[in-house]
């Protein structure tokens, strides 16, 4: 299946499962009277449709994890939602994540599941794997114990895991197996919405291919939506339908993945794509000058302007809005479309 076809399909069934509006979430440290804010999610709006894989990319510390934690209602102090809203629509069941925590709690794992970054440490180290399935999924399935066990075992088998892993402790599994177990855990209830944070980053290339295939297959079979976070652009090229680029807590660009790779509209997107290694390419890649900005004290105007090769005066004064882009997405740049990938 080509990317173009996937896109058509999702457009045809266009129905938004997730809607985020003007979302702001900061890490607020207030110690001995000194207040320090890290604006990890700063004024972000986006929607995720039914039956699509929505990618989020951006360099380390750009706020990817913070954004999806906020989406999943998984924030802990010192992080706080400062403004905006997050709404889900699970086939007519509407949930406002921060206004209706009870409803959200009931939907967890039933409608919405989450694969956390660093899946190596998300399993209880002193209990066997089967307890994780019991605790996470049993009450949603409406099955008796034996039927539940049979369902879990067949699910594991479908994901290429020996059902014996249920009797193992996490430390007895390899990294790849553990990652598969967390994917199994996140999909066993067949949720409409799956959030995956860097699920392949810690794995070697071959296992990575496997796991990507797995996620793709599960998504297609269940027809669910997946928000897929990784800083690895080649992974996005391989798996996502639409892609959002984050820079310093804000969205820089969003659009159909294929089109964005062909004609990036934002200079930062262009940079990310240009830094991908290509076969037959011997020239060393130019890395971006300057450091990623501090989120506690971000630059004025467009946050990218100090490192932007095509910045103009206006960029340091005004914050660019997210506006429709030439390739059917949105972009926040005064000089959108003026760069190209060489």
């Amino acid at each position: 299946m080509t990317l173009a076809m996937t896109n058509e399909r999702s457009v045809a069934q266009a129905a938004d499962v997730l809607t985020i509006k003007d979302l702001k979430a900061y890490y607020i440290n207030d110690l001995f009277g000194v207040r320090r804010e890290v604006r990890a999610v700063d004024d972000i709006s986006l929607t995720v449709r039914r039956n699509e894989i929505y990618g989020i990319a951006g360099e380390s510390s750009s706020g990817k994890t913070s954004l999806i934690k906020t989406i999943a209602g998984a924030i802990r102090p010192p992080m706080r939602v400062v403004g905006g809203e997050v709404r889900f629509d699970f086939g007519g069941k509407h949930i406002d994540v921060y206004a209706e925590p009870g409803k959200m709690k009931a939907a967890r794992w039933q409608n919405l599941s989450y694969i956390m970054q660093g899946s190596m440490s998300v399993l209880n180290p002193v209990r066997r794997i089967k307890h994780a399935f019991n605790n996470f999924a049993f009450r949603h399935m409406g099955l008796d114990r034996t039927a539940f066990r049979a369902r879990v075992e067949s699910h594991l088998q479908r994901l290429g895991l020996d059902p014996n892993v249920l009797e193992a402790f996490p430390h007895q599994l390899s990294g790849g197996m553990r990652q598969r177990v967390t994917i199994a855990l996140a999909t066993v209830c067949e949720p409409e919405f799956i959030i995956a944070d860097e699920p392949t980053t810690a794995l070697d290339v071959l296992v990575q291919q496997d796991v990507l295939g797995l996620i793709k297959e599960v998504q297609e079979r269940l027809g669910s939506s997946v928000v897929f976070v990784t800083h690895d652009m080649s992974v996005h090229a391989a798996i996502t339908d639409r892609l959002a680029i984050m820079y310093a807590g804000r969205l820089a660009e969003e659009g159909p993945t294929q089109a964005m790779f062909d004609t990036p509209q934002h200079p930062y997107t262009a940079h990310l794509i240009a830094s991908l290694p290509r076969i037959g390419d011997t020239a060393t890649r130019k890395s971006l000058a300057g450091k990623p900005p501090s989120l506690a004290n971000p630059p004025t105007g467009c946050r990218f302007h100090p490192r932007c090769p095509i910045a103009i005066d206006r960029c340091s004064r005004e914050v660019p809005d997210m506006l429709p882009s030439a390739i059917g997405g949105r972009v926040a740049c005064f000089r959108a479309g003026e760069v190209s990938v060489k």
Partner: protein, 334 residues
């Protein structure tokens, strides 16, 4: 299984090392003290009247043999080890001629009973409250309980014991404050005797529990407040796992394990506390024996009890250590 045997062997090595160090230390302290136990005992005995010089000389000779203060340092040292290994610390002076080991044997059940019970209770309560306090950080009631528990912890055992004794012995006399059981009862498996033992043990045990609880509370609370930010706990909460399950199976279970190791490490201190408590409440255990021995100038008794306690504590630590892998699946054996 082979891995486990290796582990036990290693622990046993440590155990032997601790015992050797402790016994050697006891020997050295006794040996290099400016006080000669033989002369001390002789003067103690002659105070009671036996002043015939020949009798004194015979006494002195037999005491030297008894205390093993003849010969070179090395031969005395090995002689001492011989006594330790055969459990023969000679006769007690204050209860002549009962062997020290018999006296220790009589006191031992009291101390073991009191200590085991009090330690377990304080461990369980302290850890339970600490875990709750770490997990439900915002509850006012729990904070208040925590404050009370923690404030008790730094107070020396003696002060807590004495306070309880004053409160429940003088101001509101509802509990016996001296002894191990009612004196006119013969030890038997009768209800009367057992209930008397429980009544007499309440204040000593309560003291140890109050003193011991705070330490467990504080360390458990900080363990738990670290664990609640661990990925697997956050993940379980995210998945909507009921908080009772998260608390018991994710948080408490993981935090409990280091506390078991902590138990082994604290036994030495706990034993020290027991010595004091037994003295305050005149409880017929090892600790009271030791202090009574000091007051009575009973050399063989004091040396015997010290050596014995070092070995006993090391043994208890060893036992906890070798049981630990059976409860923690992660311990890499080998």
């Amino acid at each position: 299984m082979n891995g486990y045997l290796n582990y036990v062997a290693k622990r046993f090595g440590q155990f032997v090392f601790v015992v050797v160090t402790g016994v050697t230390l006891s020997f050295l302290i006794a040996h290099f003290s400016p006080v000669d136990p033989v002369e001390q005992t002789v003067s103690l005995l002659t105070n009671f009247g036996a002043t015939d010089p020949r009798t004194v000389e015979v006494l002195r000779q037999s005491l030297r043999e008894l205390y093993g203060t003849d010969g070179s340092l090395l031969s005395q040292y090995f002689l001492f080890w011989g006594r330790v290994l055969t459990g023969d610390f000679g006769p007690s002076l204050s209860a002549f001629p009962t062997p020290v080991m018999t006296i220790i044997g009589r006191a031992l059940p009291w101390t073991i009973g009191l200590l085991t019970l009090a330690t377990l209770i304080s461990w369980v309560i302290g850890n339970f409250l600490g875990a709750i306090a770490g997990y439900f950080r915002n509850s006012r009631a729990i904070k208040l309980v925590g404050l009370f528990v923690m404030a008790l912890q730094p107070i020396p055992t003696y002060i807590t014991g004495l306070t309880l004794l004053i409160v429940f012995g003088f101001l509101w006399p509802i509990l016996p404050i001296s002894g191990g059981a009612q004196l006119n009862l013969t030890p038997a498996a009768s209800w009367a005797y057992i209930s008397s033992v429980i009544q007499y043990g309440t204040l000593p045990a309560l003291t140890l529990v109050l003193v011991g609880m705070g330490g467990w509370f504080v360390s458990m609370r900080s363990l738990v407040s670290n664990i609640v930010t661990d990925d697997y706990v956050v993940y379980a909460e995210l998945a909507g796992v009921p908080s009772r399950t998260v608390f018991s199976q994710y948080v408490a279970r993981n935090a409990m394990l280091p506390q078991v190791t902590g138990l082994a490490l604290s036994l030495g201190n706990v034993f020290g506390g027991a010595v004091i408590v037994e003295f305050i409440f005149n409880y017929p255990g090892i600790g009271k024996l030791m202090i009574a021995g000091i007051y009575a100038g009973d050399y063989s008794l004091v040396l015997g009890v010290t050596t014995f306690s070092v070995i006993a504590v090391a043994t208890a630590v060893f036992l906890i250590d070798i049981l630990y892998p059976l409860i923690d699946p992660r311990v890499k054996l080998g």
